[in-house]
Amino acid sequence: MSDFDDQARAAGERVRREAERITAAMEPFESPTESGPGRSSRRLLAAAAVVVVVAGIGGLLVAANRDAGVDTVSPPPDSHPATTTISEPPTTTEPAPAPTTATVPTTTEQPTVASIRRPIVDPAVCTPISATSGGQSGLPRDPGSSLPVTLFARPSAFPVPIQIIAERVDGQAKPFALVQRYVDRERQWISSDNTESINGIDIFLGTYDSGNGEAEWTLPDGSMGYLRSRGFDREQLVSILTQLTPRPADAPIPGFDYGTGGPDGLALVAEQLNTEPRDASFAGSQCRVESTGYVYQVGATTGNVVYTYATVIDRPPPVDVGVVGDAVIVINGIDDPAAPRASDVLDADEEPWRQLLLATEPEPELAQLIGGDREVVVDFVPIDDTSTLVSSLTLRVDVTDGVAFLEVYTNDALVAEAAEYWKTEIDGRMRSRSSATPGEGRRGAFGSRLGDSPSFEQLTEEFTVRISTTDGDDQTIQTTGTIRLVPILAAN
């Protein structure tokens, strides 16, 4: 054997000894209720503690080896009781081994699972500018705080089930679908075109170049199913839809059961009703890529499982999505080769983070692509009005007869009671004003002229938009904040 081999083996042996030392030093796991510090029980407690940490903060305990082909999900301890996480059926019928019970004490010295609470992009990739928790509006909120979340809030007497069909491991970062069922028969069709018959029911089905998809259909009992997806093609969406079986209307969560014949790896992984606000934590920061000047927004969301999925759907595809520990990392901005990726995101130290929170937020901030079938969904946030929830507006650009228009769709907007007008500002100048109707935004849209343009291809200038509602005295009631939009062709 060569000297090199001897030295390498000796190095390996030193690593082993170090591992033994570390293991022996893992006393914080030891339960004070245990009668003796037995190695076996101590180590079992260590594993248990790890599981509790993973499950407790993740809301979904995932056990899987992506390469080993084992993939199971267990429900977490009761950290988010209204979100049901779905367990796989047992994979064996063998009786369980004799139980061993371990009690894990509450301790502040539990081992930490790598996660991200103060997301910044590696400064070598993207220079940090500021930190905030405020979605895409850029409006200040208490950064990193726990947000009461009402998902897809609607003033309906009937709760709306929200179900997630996804892969069980890191599903937020992979293709998934969010399914809702409206039993109040009040929701309007988003389209009557492009339907497909599935299981004897005509289903509107749309898939788009952006990777988003949607489906809507009326069930025999008059209720309506509504699915939004990310990353699936039409064939996969059809496959998913064939696996949805409506539950009885009086079921605790009257959504759908999901069969086993859909695309590989997908399952019903979480579900809840929209009526139950659940806590989720969000923190975010902005950074600028020096080579392009583009600003990016990076967010980290933890907590309520359904909410973590909702943060990455129903909007233009993020540049990248990743899952780090229990945090879902989303990067928004212009997707080009210099754009930061989720793997570039770090957990900032406290002091630099504090400095970023204090930093003035640039305006306009996040640039987003728009045009073609690429729409932009923006938060629509109330100012000094806690009774109105954050909702959203959808922006599109269209060119008709040589004129470019910005179209604003209000289907998902909740308009405040005090609002009297819609106001649209483009590049800092008011372009349109129209009457607003308080309440849930029904199917509606209004437009503003962007300028003359023979075709979309010739619309190449960036512009900023700010959509607001105001009262009769022109005081802002709700606003999107200033949004920087980049026609797709201008970014190429």
Binding site: F4, D5, A8, R9, A10, A11, G12, R14, V15, R16, E18, A19, E20, I22, T23, R39, S40, R43, L44, A46, A47, V50, V51, V54, L61, V62, A63, A64, N65, R66, D67, A68, V70, D71, T72, S74, P90, T91, T92, A96, P97, A98, P99, T100, T101, A102, T103, V104, P105, T106, P111, T112, V113, A114, D122, P123, A124, S343, L346, D349
Partner: protein
């Protein structure tokens, strides 16, 4: 607050016998105690949660090792950019190994191991840390024995060259 954990005595034994081995693998790849402990614990958490299935495998330990090596690789990838920043902000991790004269050699050696392609790195770590036979390594990395032999041979050659270069560099400085 307490939680009742129940996975039976088999998992207890598995944990007893394998935790340190898994930790050693992670330590060899990552050369950072905190990251290695994270990987070992995450591996055990996944094993624990999937124990109903893992326990039925011929080699639960091989499964766990593969999970650990994959997690360690993920950590390495995440680290590449992070390291540049953090190494400027905090001191180097304490060296592993306490024998005089070995600290620098070990540090260089494991840094070179970390720079190997994944398959070669996995083979080297399993070979030098766990002293496993080719057949056992092949079972863990899920590759033919011939591939493992070839990976190991290439990795050894590369590491030997790197360490010799490093020796020369040190001598040149002296």
């Amino acid at each position: 607050m307490s939680y009742e954990i129940d996975r039976g005595p088999d998992f207890d034994e598995f944990f007893e016998s394998e935790f340190t081995n898994i930790l050693a693998l992670a330590l060899a790849v990552l050369h950072d105690r905190d990251d290695a402990v994270d990987v070992a614990q995450e591996t055990m958490a996944r094993t624990f949660a999937g124990w109903d299935v893992v326990a039925t495998l011929d080699r639960p330990g091989a499964w766990a090792r593969r999970v650990a090596l994959n997690l360690a690789t993920d950590t390495l990838r995440r680290r590449t950019r992070r390291q540049r920043l953090h190494l400027r902000l905090r001191s180097q991790p304490p060296p592993i190994g306490d024998a005089p004269g070995t600290i620098e050699w070990d540090r260089t050696f494991w840094a070179e191991v970390a720079a190997l392609p994944k398959r070669q790195r996995d083979a080297v770590v399993l070979h030098y840390v766990e002293d496993l036979a080719i057949a056992d390594i092949a079972a863990i990395v899920d590759a033919p024995e011939g591939t493992v032999k070839s990976d190991l041979s290439r990795a050894r050659g590369r590491l030997r060259d790197a360490m010799q270069r490093n020796d020369h560099d040190v001598q040149d400085e002296e």
